[in-house]
């Protein structure tokens, strides 16, 4: 399952997820993306995530479905924030469950990398003492190289 929400998701257990209740799984892999207080040498005080929600839900669900086909996992779940977030707030959770740990790790990384490159979500960072900015993948937009890092999958797909 893939969800986009405009509510605090800092406490995973408050989300009461079915994926965490399956007695058959032997491994649960968690990735938690949180808001850090610096980026590209600037002091970040908060940020906003904006999304083209209907498309983000479709693209995100397709990524989760791809992971379940591609890796030998039991289930996968991803939830991503929109709205205003403060430092240390959780922006994204990716959870993968499997009978054995390697596939859970690999599937988890596949999901977060693909979400970062494909799902229409944008981030505006608010800085200490500077004007806020929409953040793009700095390495992509300024150096024009192609597919040198895994989360920038948008090149060459126009």
């Amino acid at each position: 399952m893939f969800e986009m929400v405009d509510k605090n998701i800092n406490n995973l257990y408050e989300l009461d997820l079915d994926i965490l209740k399956d007695p058959s799984v032997g491994g649960i892999n968690y990735f938690q993306g949180v808001v850090r207080n610096h980026n590209e040498g600037k002091d970040v005080k908060s940020l906003e995530y904006e999304s083209y929600i209907p498309m983000a839900k479709k693209v995100g669900q397709d990524i989760v479905n791809q992971a379940k086909k591609k890796f030998d996992i039991v289930d996968a779940y991803c939830i991503h924030r929109t709205g205003h977030l403060n430092i240390n707030d959780t922006a994204v959770w990716v959870i993968t469950t499997s009978h054995h740990r390697k596939e859970a790790y690999d599937a988890n990384q596949f999901i977060i990398d693909t979400v970062k490159g494909e799902v229409p979500i944008w981030k505006k960072e608010h800085y200490v003492g500077l004007e806020p900015e929409w953040v793009a993948c700095h390495r992509c937009t300024e150096h024009h190289h192609e597919r040198k890092h895994s989360h920038c999958n948008h090149h060459g797909q126009q």
Binding site: G33, M55, P120, W122, A136
Partner: protein, 79 residues
């Protein structure tokens, strides 16, 4: 043809609207983008944008179809 164009992130800042209905005789997404870029002077180069038509990524040479919802997608930054 009538199409709906939606703007997000820095493209919305440039256009100063979140969406608009456009009556157009242009044939391709490419032509529509050039026309909108002339109007709004977007701050992102086309080579860094993708386009979504009716919530699916498509190519800039796609033909415009009546009632399409078109979104030019700035580099995404989730996660």
């Amino acid at each position: 043809m009538k199409v709906k164009v939606m703007y997000f992130a820095s493209l919305r800042d440039s256009a100063s609207v979140s969406h608009e209905m456009i009556d157009t005789e242009l044939e391709t997404i490419d032509e529509l983008f050039e026309s909108l870029n002339n109007k709004y002077s977007f701050k992102i180069e086309k080579k860094h944008l993708r386009v979504a038509i009716n919530e699916e990524y498509k190519s800039f040479d796609s033909k415009i179809v009546n009632n399409d919802t078109i979104v030019f997608i700035p580099p995404v930054a989730g996660g």
